[in-house]
Symmetry: C2
Subunit: 268 residues, 2 copies
Amino acid sequence: MTERRRITGFSNPTVKALRALRDKKHRKRERRFLTEGLRLLTDARDAGHLPEMLVLSEARDPHPLLAALEAEVGAAGGEIVETTPDILAKITGKDNPQAIAGVFAEFDTALRAIDRSRAPIWLVAQALRDPGNLGTILRTGDAIGAGGLILIDDCADPFSVEAVRASMGAVFTQSIAQARWDEFLPWLRAGKGQLVAASLRDAQPYRGAPYAAPCFLMVGNESRGLPEEYELACDLRVTMPMRGRADSLNAAVAAAVLGYEILAHLDK
Amino acid sequence: MTERRRITGFSNPTVKALRALRDKKHRKRERRFLTEGLRLLTDARDAGHLPEMLVLSEARDPHPLLAALEAEVGAAGGEIVETTPDILAKITGKDNPQAIAGVFAEFDTALRAIDRSRAPIWLVAQALRDPGNLGTILRTGDAIGAGGLILIDDCADPFSVEAVRASMGAVFTQSIAQARWDEFLPWLRAGKGQLVAASLRDAQPYRGAPYAAPCFLMVGNESRGLPEEYELACDLRVTMPMRGRADSLNAAVAAAVLGYEILAHLDK
């Protein structure tokens, strides 16, 4: 059986270090992030990511998947820590924490790690500020069979607790890259790829537009949308019906409606 | 010129009462809610909703829309309060508050207020727990020309700060009703209406399914989905491609992808 370390004090340095992972600055320095729940940790394992540390609640119910995960993490040289539900709540910042959490090393998010031939659809987000939106876009990417998400300019942190939670595990299955616009565009143009965005500028109806794989679907900042220069660099600009008073959709919603349209078009 | 009351103390009872509106229990007792920003307040006015109280920051810039709003609220007998940016931040719970906020009386959310002949699409959410999702669904409803949102069973509060914010003003333009399932179903069946849900049970592909107006599109709870009984009561069950590891979408995303599909179908 794998050896477990027990932690019972709130002031234990491991507890402090884990809590600090909720803070972006600290997380960036440590290059580690936290994921909660057996389901997400199992998804991560299935996608080839094992946590460096597994934190278990004393109050957990036994589960074969949990036992398997524990054994694998132990075999890989990871650390296994057992603690009280109260301390786990403190670590995850949730009143009713899941019975298990894991600490992962951040992945490489260099653009060069993206193999565009691997998938027909790629999502691109520019200056996306809300980590919930970011996680939701990852989740949608998984659903439409996208290869991953490319984050342009200053976006929310994909490894924040909120983004990981909203991604429902897709943070482990989708490739993630971070780049400035002036790195992204030359990279895109160095290979095959159609850049698409929702726009009002010289745009055609989003339904039945001539999408082509690999299709890079780009959404902009929640309040400002995409800069004009970025829109003009697109190969295809599409427009969606807006029947009400508002003139825009939530960024994650726009990505999903367009993403499903592109999927249907490419599937034909 | 309309008379303004100045408030400069954090412990002023009005400040305390306004801050308390962020708390659901208090909000329900007062039957009042808070909205921030000139854009949303102008949308509200255009949709026929004037605030009972307007709270202005001393640091606001002059704006013709703001002046018009102030005059209208004053003429309607509403109260106008001027305060410091710090106090406004305290009231709205935001570090960088907008320069204006308004207090509205909650609307009637009885099912009988819904006139189904008014729109071809209606959104229905069951046990939706996240106020951000709720607001986003309202916003999507506005975009697809839905009549409103019917909240079934125990949902998040549509008048919470988070839901109002995420709705981007649609809380004022969409009808909102709250009902138990055993009130909703008889009400629905007493008139024309097709009940549609995403499902894996005996479902057909969501694209090109025989949607018919008035179409009631129902989404379920974020983690449990819809109860089986509710799914079985639907006239049409549709399924969406899920190409990845996950077996579901974010609730607001699912509502949007299906909502836009229904809009396209009904428009043909």
